[in-house]
């Protein structure tokens, strides 16, 4: 095979993608780095002819922001909880779905529903489910008009209503609601991929396991999971990447306030921070924050890749 001819031809096939990538991916990255290094760069001011000097002022501004650590903490906490939980749940659901015949199609369709609907609308539904209408929570003349459907269910089972997202709600309660919502949104895609992986596994391994009289749980952990590990690694890595970019889900539940009435902005995430800067037309600061976030995601993904290299079999 003539080597050079092959080279040249390969680039022909890549040409359309390369051109589009240059314009709509590479140039924005360069431009973002440029904007990040122009102190207090603002798109509007630039359009008005203002000039900005180079420097790392934007990065300092981002790091010194009072709530920067809070945004980072929220982003990391959300990832650390939602990715493992959604992956584990997706695995169990996929395995369960795979093991039954009757109703399999119907249940599969149901589990794929969240993937199909608009996340903002579902955010509103979740907010309505957790929202408490009433006042004076925690005071002696506490008044609850409606505690929201979730609390109604809790009370039905004898529990006490919890102030999930309203005035005076605790950080953990807010986190819980966010985790439930994000996991709920993340499940369908993960189930799809893992179910796909399961259908790829040769049936005879399971017959062999039966012959070796392996209990159901052991079949899952010693046979299904190792054989699924390439898919699991993929789902976890993309899960983290997606998790770090969490924003619309918080807007869905808390609205622009990004937190309960008693502590606005408490649940803001890194991407939320980027949006705040953008809405004030501080593109310089937004770009700096975006680059910092990209750096973090890169590091986490590299760690994930290393971990999965060791743990992924087959």
């Amino acid at each position: 095979m003539v080597e050079s001819k092959q080279q040249w031809k390969a680039w022909i096939y890549l040409a359309p993608a390369i051109v589009l990538l240059l314009i709509f991916t590479v140039w924005p990255i360069i431009n973002t780095v440029r904007m990040a290094l122009l102190e207090n760069y603002s798109g509007l001011k630039a359009a008005g002819g203002a000039t900005f000097n180079f420097g790392i002022g934007n990065f300092e501004k981002v790091i010194t922001y009072r709530r920067f650590v809070q945004c980072m903490k929220n982003t990391v906490l959300l990832c650390v909880f939602t990715v493992p939980i959604s992956t584990l749940l997706a695995l169990l659901i996929a395995v369960a779905l795979h093991s039954i015949k009757p109703l399999q199609k119907a249940l599969q369709t149901i589990f794929f529903l969240p993937y199909v609907t608009n996340s903002i609308a579902i955010g509103m539904v979740f907010a309505a489910m957790f929202n408490i209408v009433g006042s004076f929570f925690g005071t002696e003349n506490e008044l609850i008009v409606t505690a929201g459907i979730i609390n109604n269910v809790i009370e039905f089972f004898g529990g006490k209503a919890v102030n999930w997202i309203n005035y005076g709600s605790t950080y953990t309660a807010n986190m819980f609601v966010m985790i439930v919502y994000i996991v709920w949104n993340a499940l369908p895609f993960k189930i799809l991929i893992l179910l796909g992986g399961l259908t790829g596994i040769n049936k005879q391994y399971y017959e062999a396991a039966k012959v070796d009289s392996t209990p159901r749980a052991r079949v899952l952990w010693r046979i299904t999971v190792p054989l699924l590990s390439p898919m699991l690694a993929y789902v976890i890595i993309t899960g983290f990447i997606g998790g770090f970019k969490e924003y619309t889900s918080i807007v869905g539940i808390f609205g622009e306030r990004m937190g309960p009435a008693s502590d606005s902005g408490r649940m803001n995430t890194m991407v939320g921070f980027i949006y705040d800067s953008l809405s004030n037309n501080n593109q310089g600061r937004a770009s700096a924050a975006a680059l910092i976030l990209f750096g973090i995601i890169l590091i986490v993904t590299l760690i994930n890749l290393q971990v999965s290299k060791k743990r992924v079999h087959y």
């Binding site: 630039a46 929202n131 925690g138 037309n281």
Partner: protein, 448 residues
């Protein structure tokens, strides 16, 4: 390379305006064919119909001006979209806007000042037209700290006090005009109906800013330093209202988890007897008709309570319109003619007011026969919108406008969060209030 093109484009625009500026002060519109785009948030059919009729009417007089009126979503959508469009040099000609929006657009110096056009001998405003504007609304166009005029009012709303007239009459309660009277009435209502929350005030931000105006204390200023609301007067009234909240006298949308108008109109045992909300939302403040076909109680509307009734201060909200600089001066002139037509045409302002429940920007609507009939029908039931319009128009002298500067919208968000947080505090309230005020100031300082 791309960056260079867009810079050149904008530069050319600014330059051309300068040369066009000369004409704007003296010349009129030369009748050439021009298309102007107009962003607005109107999406109700009846209101769109009034607008389209007005455009048709306008085109009779100026056939060559084609007006593309477009519903560009919410105010926030418009702000985000135009901010991006200015970068690309293709912002619209006219848009609905709040004063804070103009502050953002002016970062790029994109908004056309109106002074030249108003005083332009050919197309300018006559003295009667200038005087016809409600003074408070008109001044809002000049609250940018440089004395220049950037916006004209389109239609406005204000805050009014809705109260349960039947309940007040039945219990011999007088409608409070000062905050002290409100406290007394709330105490009495609490005795009569302990399960109730006497007062609901939907917007915490409006409440805070209105109180600073009524006390004459500092809130913000158009010149450096901008954020002045961290002072003892403000902390005092926040503390007072915190106590009211603890006593169960008042609640707000943020604390309640839903609009307090829901409490005011609810028929189950917990409800409000007074609710301060937007005058345009009158229909939401009216309870559902009972099975017997009439309202469970009659709704009264009054001006909101004051610190000093003699020197009344009430917030004015609702959209204004501004015109963007364009390279072709005829576009600017055509846009001005359309804006002038919409804001000064008595019939349009009257019709739109009647359809939307919003208050017209000009006083001459009172000469419009239909409008007079409309106002005459005002009552606490079916025609509640007319009643709120009447009350709104009686308090035009009390309107105040907050200073507008780069980042003034951040101040509004922060004081809203501040007020909501402080009202509900229970332990070491003073320390928490101080911390909350400091937090809000830091957040504002940071945003710029």
């Amino acid at each position: 390379m791309k960056k260079l093109i867009s810079m050149l484009l904008v530069l050319m625009m600014v330059l051309s305006c300068a040369s066009a500026l000369a004409d704007l002060t003296t010349d009129g519109y030369d009748g050439s064919a021009v298309t102007i785009t107009f962003y607005h948030i109107i999406n109700k059919d009846n209101q769109l119909e009034v607008l389209n009729n007005a455009i048709a009417e306008f085109n009779k007089e100026y056939p060559n001006i084609t007006v593309n009126a477009e519903n560009a979503g919410s105010y926030n959508d418009i702000l985000k979209r135009i901010s991006e469009e200015i970068n690309g040099g293709n912002q619209p000609n006219i848009t609905f806007c709040y004063a804070d929006h103009v502050a953002e657009y002016n970062k790029a110096g994109a908004v056309q000042t109106l002074d030249e056009l108003i005083n332009n001998p050919v197309v300018g405003l006559s003295d009667e037209q200038k005087a016809d504007f409600v003074e408070g609304y008109y001044n809002e166009g000049m609250s940018f700290g440089d004395g220049l005029m950037y916006t004209l009012p389109f239609y406005k709303s204000t805050e009014v006090l809705y109260y349960d007239a039947t309940f007040f009459a039945a219990n011999g309660l007088t409608v409070p005009t000062t905050w002290d009277e409100v406290e007394e009435v709330c105490a009495k209502i609490k005795e009569i109906d302990p399960k109730s929350i006497p007062l609901g005030y939907d917007s915490e931000g409006n409440w805070f800013i209105t109180m600073t105006e009524q006390y004459g204390s500092d809130y913000t200023s158009a010149t450096e330093p901008h954020y002045l609301f961290d002072n003892d007067t403000n902390k005092a009234f926040v503390k007072k209202f915190n106590e009211w909240y603890q006593k169960g006298y008042v609640t707000t949308a943020g604390l309640y988890g839903a609009y307090t108008s829901g409490l005011f109109t609810s028929t189950d045992e917990t409800r409000c007897y007074m609710c301060i909300g937007s005058s345009a939302g009158a229909t939401y403040q009216r309870p559902k008709k009972g099975d017997d076909g009439n309202y469970p109680f009659e709704v009264g509307i009054a001006t909101i309570p004051q610190v000093d009734p003699a020197n009344r201060k009430v917030i004015s909200q609702g959209p204004s319109v501004c015109i963007f600089k364009k390279s072709n001066p005829q576009e600017v002139l055509a846009s001005w003619l359309f804006v002038k037509y919409l804001t000064t045409n008595t019939d349009f302002q009257a019709n739109f007011g009647m359809q939307s429940g919003y208050m017209p920007a000009i006083k001459s609507v009172l000469n419009n026969a239909d409008f007079q009939a409309y106002l005459a029908k005002a009552d606490g039931g079916d025609n509640i919108a007319m009643l709120s319009m009447k009350v709104g128009m009686d308090q035009t002298d009390a309107y105040y406008t907050s200073p507008v500067f780069e980042g003034s919208s951040v101040a509004r968000n922060q004081v809203t969060a501040l007020m909501t947080k402080c009202l509900g505090l229970t332990e070491n309230v003073d320390a928490e209030i101080d911390a909350a005020f400091q937090d809000a100031i830091d957040e504002c300082e940071y945003a710029n």
